[in-house]
């Protein structure tokens, strides 16, 4: 794709093209439409809404945990329920909220930002969504029938093995990972292909919006990290549990530590998988609301890419207490600290952007500032954890709980709330209430710090993680009570957000396509975007096409509008297909059955094969259209 020079003036039949596009991109009506949707806006929104529901569920679980810990020797929740609660909380937040939420934002925004009509593989996208939904339902079906996993979200062997966790609880956890990893891999694959091959003409590598860069890096991380969890949870854990292999059985030559290595080879990149897209969101928000191009674009991109690489070299810092050889540990300390440089560069660039731009203090910017405060603090405690001697003290204590909530809530959730406020007009066509948004921010900010800051001190004072109770003489009561109060304040913040979103959706100010005067291409589409996004595909004449004067902008003509077609791609699909749903359903049933009996895998894969054949069977000779 070479940049366009001197494009000719052409005539466009705006109305006629719009009508043709509406016809070929319309949804099937009724229930069938619900199961056959393949447009990225609809699926992106489903991802976002479903993941948000899981955020609420995970949040309520956290609240119950905080209530249990509010005072010493609290009889509210017993150990069995508590262990299920914290395992389900962690699993939900990592696998059912954070990753799918980021992917949903990517699915929704990336095609818009790239100026195309849909993701590269719309049916795969639909399949991925259904797998994610079924996985979530599966986990909660277990949880509600008192079969919730209870071995922690990283399910260390041998505690999670057949001997010490009989029953189906851990099987459900391990198989739930299968569902969500398939879903994540689907989205990663389609986003990579979309970003690499479907950018608007003129959008060279140096013109890709920061958010798309972040999704590209994230997708590559998913591609190389998820296979590790496949090996850990599906092969090591599930095979050990169902057919009696010996991967973690020390008596037969296996090694429980290998599970930890492989799990964290996934688990550490997982953190970056969650928070790299958030960095892209922060960049988008900052550049839009400071009204200037992001400072240091090449440095920002390089930081993202290097974070993606270094993220794979840190996993052992989760295992410093296991007693590995010292020289290797020193390397992992150095690598863990090195990644702070990449994050630091980005923070400096944002500050420089704000310093030299025209900051408009609207709600999204509040959340960005909250992000800077919380994330920098979390990053610095991360530097502490990288130092082995300090890690040996605070590892597996509430200090670590505080640290990763600062990094994940500060680093991902605050940018995400900022992103909701920022892109809500694009999603719904209406603005969110800004005044209420600022109130919402302050409630969340205060509640968050009140909840998690005391945990640093609790950890140093000896409070270990994952304990369901503690004796009064330990003196941990007051700080825990404070944290519980903070958790209730966070709940209020969440309610304010939901109220604001629901009310704004109906009564909010009409936004128009470009309420913030943004620079990237998503603001060229209608709000909410049509199924086909753009009547005429835009051409990226600069890094910020929307900041180019209108008379210099260029659009593409000649893409066929009488069928689902986008530039540099094949036909999207002949008509909205049901096969992704059926395939996901069959595979899902098989996977669920296989947690009870291994032999279910055979019919599962057979049935899935049939689903896939239906999916791929060429409908009719090409060139003939109904």
């Amino acid at each position: 794709m070479t940049p366009v020079t001197e494009p000719p003036l052409g005539e466009i039949d705006d109305e006629g093209e719009r009508r043709a596009l509406e016809r070929s991109w319309r949804r099937r009506p009724g229930i069938a439409g619900w199961f056959t949707v393949t447009t990225h806006q609809a699926l992106g929104k489903r991802y976002i809404v479903t993941a948000f529901v899981f955020l609420l569920i995970g949040g309520v679980e956290a609240l119950f945990m905080r209530l249990q810990l509010a005072r010493p020797d609290n009889p509210l929740i017993g150990p069995d329920k508590y262990n299920q609660l914290f395992t389900t909380h962690g699993t939900t937040m990592m696998f059912l909220f954070a990753v799918p939420m980021m992917e949903g934002m990517g699915v929704y925004l990336v095609p818009l930002m790239l100026g195309t009509r849909n993701v590269a593989f719309p049916r795969l996208n639909a399949f991925g969504y259904w797998m994610f939904l079924f996985g979530g339902i599966f986990l909660y079906a277990g949880f509600l029938t008192n079969t919730g996993p209870d071995a922690g979200w990283f399910a260390y062997t041998p505690l999670s093995g057949p001997q010490f966790s009989p029953g189906k609880r851990v099987d459900i956890w391990a198989q739930m990972i299968t569902f969500t990893e398939i879903s994540a891999l689907c989205v990663a694959t389609e986003l990579i292909a979309t970003i690499l091959k479907m950018r608007a003409p003129g959008m060279s590598l140096t013109r890709i919006p920061m958010f798309c860069w972040s999704m590209l890096v994230q997708s590559f991380m998913v591609v190389f990290a998820m296979p590790a969890v496949m090996v850990a949870s599906n092969i090591f854990l599930l095979l050990d549990r169902t057919v009696g292999t010996h991967f973690s059985n020390a008596a037969e030559g296996g090694d429980p530590l290998l599970y930890q290595h492989v799990f964290w080879f996934f688990g550490h990149p997982e953190v970056y998988i969650i928070f790299i897209p958030a960095l892209g969101m922060v960049s988008s928000i900052v550049e839009t609301h400071t009204r200037r191009a992001i400072f240091g674009y090449p440095a920002m991109v390089l930081s993202l890419v290097s974070t993606g690489f270094i993220g794979f070299g840190l996993w052992v810092h989760h295992m410093f207490a296991t007693g590995l050889p010292q020289i290797g540990e020193a390397y992992f300390t150095a690598a863990s600290m090195m990644i702070a440089v990449a994050s630091g560069v980005q923070i400096f660039c944002w500050i420089a952007t704000m310093w030299s731009g025209r900051v408009h203090m609207r709600t999204p910017m509040y959340f960005v500032l909250g992000f800077v405060f919380i994330f920098v603090l979390g990053g610095l405690t991360g530097v502490m954890l990288a130092a082995i001697p300090l890690d040996l003290q605070v590892h597996d204590t509430f200090f670590v709980v505080a640290h990763f909530h600062y990094v994940l809530i500060g680093g991902a959730l605050f940018p995400l709330f900022g992103a909701f406020y920022h892109w809500f007009p694009k999603f719904t066509g209406r603005m969110m209430n800004d005044a209420l948004g600022k109130i919402n921010f302050w409630i969340l900010f205060v509640g968050f710090n009140l909840t998690f800051f005391p945990m640093h001190i609790l950890g140093l004072k000896g409070m270990t993680r994952r304990i369901y109770t503690y004796p009064a003489e330990m003196g941990w009561g007051p700080a825990n009570a404070l944290a519980t109060v903070g958790a209730c304040i966070i709940l209020i913040g969440g309610i304010v957000f939901i109220a604001n979103a629901l009310a704004s959706r109906v009564h909010g100010e009409i936004a128009g396509p470009d309420p913030w005067d943004g620079g990237t291409l998503e603001w060229a589409a209608d709000s909410p975007p049509r199924n086909y996004n753009f009547v005429n595909l835009p051409v990226a004449t600069s890094r910020y096409p929307m900041w180019t004067p209108p008379e210099e902008r260029v659009v593409v003509t000649g893409v066929r509008h009488d069928r689902r077609e986008a530039l540099v791609t094949t036909l999207m699909d002949a008509e909205p297909p049901i096969w992704p749903f059926i395939t996901a359903l069959l595979l899902g049933l098989g996977l669920v059955g296989a947690t009870f009996r291994f032999s279910w895998y055979y019919p599962a894969f057979g049935a899935t094969g049939i689903g896939l054949i239906g999916w791929f069977w060429p409908r009719r000779p090409e060139g003939v259209r109904s």
């Binding site: 207490a321 502490m384 304990i467």
Partner: protein, 343 residues
């Protein structure tokens, strides 16, 4: 500046010490290992707090610099700073990044130096070796000795001599646990099939609490242990007392209690030296009366607590592996007398 600093130190001290509990704290080091880590901690804390404040002030400054009342200004499509501003910013950002690298390098050196010092601490002096084995959910403790008859076995507490390094050999019988007495040292995992070692040393006499730090199942919360540091002679006396077989019953009630013990399922799991009870899967009870706590730090060791524990273990510590034995009325009291007499 000095006043602000004093105030800050004071506030930090209040925050860190205000929640009581010094017997399980990484910030009240009593040995060289924890001491070195604590020094490193304060170094990291002050340096990183300074960096945090600088970043936050820079951000706020960037915001307030010239944007007051900007909402009233006419909207411009894009704001383009001058080339000179860009150039200056590039230098500042590059400088800040280089500074970050330098600071991190300093922190890395401090960390590795401390780590090296820690690894050299133990083996220099004549020490003793204690084997600690993790079980769901209690600690098996064994003092190794070349002479098998001088080996001491106890559970859920460890006496150590002041000023002598103690090498812990850490192993597990079931799942992964982690040994952590923060006042003495950082944590080290107990992994089935492996032996990890760790050196600890106490500078002065005292009692410190430790707790399992790796989630190990249902009663992870109730897997604590006490480390009791004593002067050398007192420690030796304790060792001698522990080496002795159990005390013979000295009253009718204690005698009856011993029979109750020996005639019930207790003997399948527990060991009492000097009696036929030779179970190996639960804590050794030869000197149970001398211990500070019951059920791995769950309850203080009193007769009442012991009675409650034996009568209904699942009530005290739900999910634990101690069998519930329905004793006929009148048997519990003598049993308690007997067990409490095993000093």
């Amino acid at each position: 500046m000095t006043r602000a600093r004093t105030l800050f130190i004071w506030a930090a001290a209040v925050a860190l010490n205000g929640c009581g509990g010094h017997q399980q704290s990484a910030l009240d080091s009593v040995g060289p290992q924890a001491g070195k880590i604590e020094s490193l901690w304060w170094f990291f804390l002050w340096l990183l707090t300074a960096i945090f404040l600088i970043v936050i002030f820079a951000t706020l400054w960037a915001l307030t610099r010239r944007h007051r009342g900007i909402e009233q200004e006419p909207l411009e499509r894009i704001h383009l700073p001058s080339g000179e501003t860009e150039h200056r910013l590039t230098r500042v950002v590059a400088g800040a990044s280089i500074l970050t690298v330098i600071i991190l390098f300093a922190l890395l050196i401090a960390s590795v130096t401390t780590g090296k010092a820690l690894s050299e601490l133990g083996p220099k002096k004549q020490g003793i070796t204690v084997e600690v084995t993790g079980n769901q959910w209690w600690w098996y403790v064994r003092y190794l000795n070349g002479d098998a008859s001088r080996i001491v076995v106890t559970a859920n507490e460890m006496h150590i001599p002041v000023g002598r390094p103690v090498m812990l050999r850490l192993n597990s019988n079931d799942v992964i646990h982690s040994f952590w007495t923060p006042n003495l040292h950082g944590k080290r995992d107990l992994i089935p099939g492996r032996v990890n070692t760790e050196w600890i040393e106490a500078d002065h006499p005292g009692r410190w609490r430790g707790q399992c730090a790796e989630f190990c199942g249902m009663q992870h919360a109730h897997m604590a242990m006490w480390v009791i540091a004593e002067p050398e002679d007192q420690f030796e006396r304790w060792m001698e007392a522990q080496r002795a077989p159990s005390k013979q019953p000295s009253s009718a009630s204690e005698l009856r209690g011993r029979d109750v013990f020996l005639n019930n399922a207790c003997v399948f799991c527990h060991h009492i030296a000097g009696t036929p009870a030779a179970g190996q899967v639960a804590p050794d009870l030869t000197h149970v009366g001398s211990r500070l706590t019951l059920a791995a730090g769950t309850l203080p060791n009193t007769k009442g607590n012991l009675g409650g524990w034996i009568a209904d273990p699942q009530n005290v510590k739900p999910g634990n592996h101690m069998a519930q034995i329905d004793l006929p009325p009148g048997d519990l009291e003598p049993l308690l007398d007997y067990l409490e007499s095993l000093k």
